[in-house]
Every structure is written in structure tokens, then in C-alpha cells.
């Protein structure tokens, strides 16, 4: 007598064979998708992606590739057609102190603006997270710098710092702290401070929104328990809030670095990259080379290096997004 389990197995195999034979026997429509449902979905997905891909190719990819190509050419205002010179523009950059100075200025600007915005944005988010009368109105008003066009903000700050009719000078003279109007935008330090403050002011709403969203998920009971255990404000911030906001912090830092590396409009509107070259970051350097010195090839080469500087934080950001961090 065969084993009972073996009988069941034989029966199971037999029934599977019947199902398989029956399946093969079913008529198949000539219009049926050979790839199945998934392939059809993929095709629709690609089709939906097409407009965005075309727009991306036309507005971003093509200009980028053009700039990449032009970086290998000499193309000045005197020339009707560009002349291929290989990597000569990059060799020139290596020995051009102005370009290196622009890299250094960019590093200072990015470090100051990112750090400043991080601290101010977090501080403001913590205040906006507290319950108080009129919080909703103040939260809405906090978005104002974000709503204003950045060049308008730059002109507002330019008016504040102006040496002849600036609000800052008027205020300090009223307090008797200075005897004569100071030309804040005419010193390298003052000009850098002005462009950094302007950018921080513009970016606080965005950073605050990120932090505020993060703070909504913070376990209040955990904070209450810490307070019961005697934790002060600093201890709560260090041991509970900051660890909780760590993923948001990372995203915000990376986005901040990318945004500040790309910054052009406020700096150009406020100082034009000056005085002399004190606030000439890479974006302003590219603009000056292209539209003040009319050297498109060299400007493209600086632009390529600028993009290279943007790639590591961009890669980090994409990695975080893909990993869902």
C-alpha cells in the first residue's frame, strides 16, 4: 500500500498537468499584449513621461550639453564662429586667480548662508511650534520672504544697507553709535554680510516649513517625560528634538547647499559681485565672463566646474530620496 502522502502528491501533480493542458488549449486574442499587463503599463508610463522628458531635454539637457561643448572652444565677441581648443580653457582656469577666488568666495558664502539659515530656520520653527495666540497669523507672515521675488528682497536689503539713505545708518546715527554714514556695501566684509543676510532672510520660510513639519511628529509625551526628569531646554533640544529631526536636517542641509551654490539674483542685484570682486561667487563669475567680458568659451568652462561642485550634494540628495531616508 503506497504511503498516503505519496498518493496526495501524485494526485496534485496530475491535477496541475490538467490545468496546464487546459490553459494551453484556451484561444488567445491576436491583439493580446505578448508582454502582459506590466509591459502595457510600462509603455503608458513612458508615454506620460515623454512631455516632461522633452521639456527637460530642451530646457536643461541641451543647454547643458551645449555649454559642455562650448567649454572646449574659444568663443569671444570678436569671433563669428567658435574655435576648438580642447582643454585650454580649463588650463587657463587652473592659473587664473580670479576663478579660484570665486571658488573660495562661493565656499564662504555657501557655508555662512547654509549655517545661518539652518540655525535661524530651526529657531523660528521651534518658536512657531509653541502654542500662543496669533500663531497661525505669524506662521503665515513668516512665509512673506518666500513669496517676495528675490530681486525685490535684494533691493529692500540694498535700501537698508545703502550708505546715503539706508535705514541701518539712520538707525545707528539716531542712536549716536556712528558719526557719519557708513558704506556697508563698500567693504568686502560688509558686502558679504549683506548678501548672506539677504539669502538667510529669503530661505528661513522654506527651512522653517521643513522643520515645522518634522516637529509635528515629535512625541510630546517623550518631551514631557524628559522635563519631568529635570531636562532643561538645551537638553531637550540636544537629546530629543535634534535626534528626531536628523533626517529632516540632512535633507535641509543638502538642499540648502545646492540652493546656495546656485544663488545669483540676490547677489547680482545687491552688490553686482563687488566691491571689486568681494562677492563674486561662481554664478556671478560665469555671468561676468560671458556677458561683461564676452568670453563664452571660458565662461562655459567655469560653468562646467560649477556644475561639478553641485554634483556631490545633488548626488547625496538623490541617494537620500531613493533610499527613502
Amino acid at each position: 500500500m503506497p504511503h498516503r502522502r505519496g498518493i496526495y502528491l501524485e494526485q496534485e501533480i496530475a491535477s496541475m498537468a490538467v490545468i496546464e493542458n487546459n490553459t494551453l488549449a484556451y484561444p488567445v486574442s491576436p491583439h493580446a499584449n505578448r508582454g502582459g499587463l506590466k509591459a502595457g503599463q510600462n509603455r503608458i508610463g513612458l508615454l506620460l513621461l515623454l512631455p516632461a522628458a522633452v521639456a527637460f531635454a530642451a530646457v536643461i539637457l541641451y543647454p547643458f550639453l551645449s555649454a559642455l561643448g562650448l567649454s572646449l572652444f574659444e568663443y569671444t565677441v570678436e569671433m563669428m564662429e567658435p574655435r576648438f581648443i580642447g582643454f585650454e580653457n580649463f588650463v587657463k582656469i587652473a592659473s587664473d586667480p580670479d576663478v579660484w577666488a570665486a571658488f573660495w568666495t562661493t565656499a564662504i558664502y555657501v557655508a555662512l548662508t547654509t549655517t545661518g539659515t539652518l540655525v535661524a530656520g530651526l529657531g523660528w520653527a521651534l518658536i512657531m511650534n509653541q502654542p500662543f495666540a496669533g500663531r497661525a497669523v505669524l506662521r503665515s507672515l513668516s512665509l512673506l520672504p518666500w513669496v517676495l521675488p528675490s530681486t525685490v528682497s535684494a533691493f529692500i536689503w540694498g535700501w537698508i544697507f545703502n550708505s546715503r539713505y539706508g535705514v541701518l545708518n539712520a538707525f545707528l546715527m539716531e542712536l549716536g553709535l556712528i558719526d557719519y554714514p557708513q558704506a556697508w556695501l563698500s567693504t568686502p566684509e560688509g558686502a558679504m554680510l549683506a548678501v548672506v543676510l539677504t539669502k538667510i532672510w529669503l530661505s528661513i520660510p522654506l527651512f522653517m516649513s521643513f522643520f515645522l513639519a518634522g516637529l509635528q511628529n515629535l512625541d510630546k509625551e517623550q518631551i514631557d517625560a524628559a522635563r519631568v526628569d529635570g531636562a532643561g531646554n538645551w537638553a531637550v533640544l540636544r537629546d530629543h528634538i535634534l535626534p528626531h529631526l536628523r533626517p529632516v536636517l540632512m535633507i535641509v542641509v543638502v538642499l540648502g547647499v545646492i540652493g546656495n551654490l546656485q544663488q545669483f539674483d540676490t547677489i547680482y542685484a545687491l552688490t553686482g559681485g563687488g566691491p571689486v570682486r568681494a562677492t563674486t561667487v561662481l554664478s556671478v563669475e560665469v555671468y561676468r565672463r560671458a556677458f561683461e567680458q564676452w568670453d563664452i568659451g571660458f565662461a562655459s568652462a567655469v560653468g562646467v566646474l560649477w556644475v561639478a561642485a553641485l554634483l556631490p550634494p545633488a548626488f547625496l540628495y538623490l541617494r537620500m530620496l531613493v533610499k527613502g531616508n
Binding site: 550708505s163 546715503r164 557719519y180 563698500s186 566691491p275 561683461e292 568670453d295
Partner: protein
């Protein structure tokens, strides 16, 4: 009719209307004067009258003075140049290599142009024998003073020498509160160049000689820059001042002197809010000199009109050329330049306005203007930036006048060598 047919029909109608709109104007005219609030109506008047006279329409494209070069450059690269563009005289060499710039000698004939235009005006548009531009307005950049401010400071006569000038500035500083005695350009490289060039000439220096050799590294140029730095240190000049700021300060009685073209009168009328009543305060004066026997200096100035056409070829009966003909006619030349407080460019129009008191005073004060020694080179934009940066560095105390001049010499030399290689 199905949806597809409807879509095609709509697209066809849109295309037809679109092409109609594109052809609405017979020619396009890019102008920075058109973008100036004080002068827009004057230019619009000329365009309207041209339309009435020739039954041709003009599409005006107004761009700020500071954005004009960039726009022309980009339009040249994207092959969307206007038919006619207005240029400052110092920009022409930069664009001289554009192959669709029309040599107007081939359109009107060299003899005809020479017969019509004042030689100094026509020369501004001539490069290597080609008439690449026609003059629109002319004049010079010289010193302007505000008589009312001088009176407040107790100054009766315009200072003649540099020493007198400094004494006058000190008087203004001490007697007119919150004033900038001399609104020297300290912000925009293009404006700084003019101030440095003038004071350099006053001190006997040159930046680049006629052969293209950079000669700024001299004691005379050092003296000029040291003089300018001294004005900053003594609070006789101020940082963050560009030409438009100078105009506003003078118009509002907050400055006594600055350098500008004769059209300053139009700006001052506008910025003072007093209109023609402000004319009584405007005093064109010779730029102060080192010794009383020295000849005052001023910089040649003018606005030009260039024509762009495919292959640089045009005919006198093309709409754009009819517009050029109209704009240099006596009808326009005896009116437009006067409204803009500048000298006409044709011989007949100059004769007609010879008795205009303001222009007469201006010409007498500024004397024979010298050609801009930087603007005549094809790399003028680069040279201007270098000079502006070095002068500004010295004025703001970031480097000594000596270091600035040495660095200027080296950087200008490199730029000139590079430009020669590209030619």
C-alpha cells in the same frame, strides 16, 4: 468636424494671426533712450512722426543702457538682431566684427555722408574706413556743477585748477550738510572708467597709447589715482555712487560737481522735479586743470545708430534705411538732440542750433573732446572691467594706488595681447 480637424484649424488660425503679429512692424529699433523714463516720450514722438511720413511702422525695443551690449551680443548669437540699434560710441569696436553689421558707405555713399555730417560726429561711427554706424547725438563728457550748491558753500566762480577744486569741495563738505561734494563714480566699472580717464588726462597720463600699448604704469597715472583716493579719504567723494546716483544727488542739491554728457540737463530737469526751472542751476564748466595754463579735458561722447541686415547688405529704400534717413533729417536733428540736451550731428542742424545758449556754453566749457582711449578697442568691455576693478580697489582702500596701477598695467597688457591674438 472631428476634434483632430478642429485642432488643426485652430493651430492654422493661430499661426496666421501669429505671423501677422510678427510682421506688424516694418522694422525693429532697439534703443536705450527709449527705456529712459525722461526720454521715452521724445523717442516715441520721432517714431510716430516717421510712421506718418513714410507709412512704415517701427517696433521699439527698449533696454536699459547697462543691458544693451548683452542684448545685442545674445541676439547676434541667436540670429535675432533688430534692424536698427542704438549704441554708445564706445561700444562700436566691440561689435565691429559682426558680419551682419552694414557698412553704411555702401548704402548712402561715402561722399554723401561726409557732406551731410559734421566730421567729428561721423568719425565716431567709422572703423578702419567702414562707416559701421551713423551718429545720432554728439557732445562731450565734462564737468557739471550745481550753482545753487556752490552759492550755499560761498563759491562764486567755478574752480579752474585742481587746487581750487579741492578747496571748493572742502567748502561744500563743511557748509552743505549730508552732501557728496563731488559725485565721483565709484560703483559701476563703466562709469569709474570715465572718471579715472579724465583725471588721468588732467594729470598728463594715458592708459593705452594710439598703437595699443598699455602705458598706465606711470607717475602721472599714479598721481591721478592718488588724487582720487585722497578725495575719498577726505570725504569729498563717496562710495556706492554710479552715474544715475550722481545725477540724482546733483538734482536734489546734495552734490556740487560730477562728470556727465550735456544730456545731463534733461535728467536734472526730471530728477529735480522742477523741470526747466532747474536749468538756472546747471553750470557746465571746464574740468579743473593742474596749472591754469593747461588745456581743460573732456571725453568725446555720442550715441550711434547701427544697422543689421543679412550678410551686411542693405539698400537705401529698405525700411530700416528710410528710418535712418528720417532720423538724420533736419526735421529730427533740429529737434531731438535739443530735447535731449545734446548736439545734433549733421552740419545743417548744427548751424540751425548754433545759438542755443546751453549747448554753446557746454561746447565752450568742455573744449575739444578727446576720443575715449579705451572704448576704441574691440576688447573694451574687458579693459573697462579691469580698470574699474583696480580703481575701485584703490578708492575703497583695498590696495594702494601704486599696487592698483601696477596690477592694472599687467592685466590690461594681458587683455590687449589676447585680443590681438583673437583678431
Amino acid at each position: 468636424m472631428n476634434t483632430f480637424t478642429r485642432l488643426i484649424g485652430t493651430a492654422a488660425v493661430a499661426l496666421t494671426l501669429g505671423s501677422g503679429a510678427a510682421k506688424a512692424a516694418d522694422l525693429s529699433f532697439m534703443s536705450f533712450t527709449y527705456a529712459e523714463e525722461a526720454n521715452k516720450a521724445i523717442v516715441q514722438g520721432v517714431l510716430d512722426n516717421f510712421q506718418k511720413a513714410e507709412k512704415l511702422t517701427v517696433e521699439p525695443l527698449g533696454f536699459a543702457w547697462g543691458d544693451m551690449q548683452k542684448n545685442i551680443f545674445l541676439r547676434a548669437r541667436s540670429k535675432t538682431l533688430p534692424d536698427i540699434a542704438q549704441l554708445s560710441e564706445r561700444w562700436l569696436p566691440t561689435f565691429a566684427s559682426l558680419d551682419n553689421l552694414v557698412d553704411l558707405n555702401t548704402v548712402y555713399g561715402k561722399d554723401k555722408l561726409e557732406a551731410a555730417f559734421a566730421p567729428d560726429a561721423l568719425a565716431m561711427g567709422n572703423i578702419n574706413g567702414k562707416q559701421l554706424a551713423l551718429p545720432l547725438l554728439s557732445g562731450s563728457i565734462g564737468m557739471v556743477a550745481n550753482k545753487e550748491v556752490l552759492a550755499k558753500a560761498g563759491i562764486n566762480d567755478a574752480p579752474k585748477t585742481v587746487d581750487d577744486f579741492k578747496k571748493a569741495l572742502v567748502a561744500v563738505r563743511d557748509k552743505v550738510p549730508n552732501s557728496v561734494p563731488y559725485s565721483m563714480a565709484t560703483k559701476n566699472n563703466g562709469s569709474i572708467l570715465i572718471d579715472f580717464m579724465v583725471w588721468n588726462w588732467v594729470h598728463g597720463g594715458r592708459i593705452i597709447d594710439d598703437a595699443g600699448k598699455v602705458v598706465v604704469d606711470s607717475q602721472k597715472s599714479r598721481d591721478a589715482l592718488t588724487f582720487m583716493v585722497g578725495l575719498m579719504k577726505d570725504r569729498l567723494a563717496a562710495p556706492e555712487i554710479d552715474r544715475p546716483d550722481s545725477r540724482r544727488l546733483l538734482a536734489q542739491g546734495a552734490s556740487a560737481f560730477y562728470l556727465d554728457a550735456p544730456q545731463t540737463r534733461t535728467f536734472l530737469r526730471d530728477f529735480s522735479g522742477k523741470g526747466q526751472a532747474f536749468d538756472a542751476n546747471v553750470l557746465p564748466m571746464p574740468t579743473p586743470v593742474l596749472k591754469a595754463s593747461d588745456k581743460p579735458v573732456s571725453v568725446q561722447w555720442g550715441h550711434l545708430l547701427v544697422q543689421f541686415a543679412a550678410g551686411g547688405k542693405a539698400k537705401a529704400d529698405d525700411p530700416a534705411d528710410k528710418f535712418l534717413t528720417y532720423i538724420i533729417s533736419d526735421k529730427v536733428q533740429t529737434d531731438l538732440p535739443l530735447k535731449m540736451s545734446a548736439l545734433p550731428v549733421t552740419k545743417s542742424a548744427r548751424a540751425a542750433v548754433a545759438e542755443d545758449a546751453y549747448l554753446k556754453n557746454w561746447s565752450a566749457a568742455t573744449g575739444d573732446a578727446r576720443r575715449n582711449e579705451v572704448g576704441i578697442w574691440s576688447n573694451a568691455a574687458d579693459l573697462t572691467n579691469i580698470i574699474g576693478e583696480e580703481v575701485q580697489g584703490a578708492l575703497l582702500g583695498q590696495k594702494s594706488a601704486d599696487d592698483a596701477i601696477k596690477s592694472m598695467q599687467a592685466r590690461l597688457t594681458t587683455s590687449m595681447e589676447k585680443a590681438k591674438k583673437s583678431e
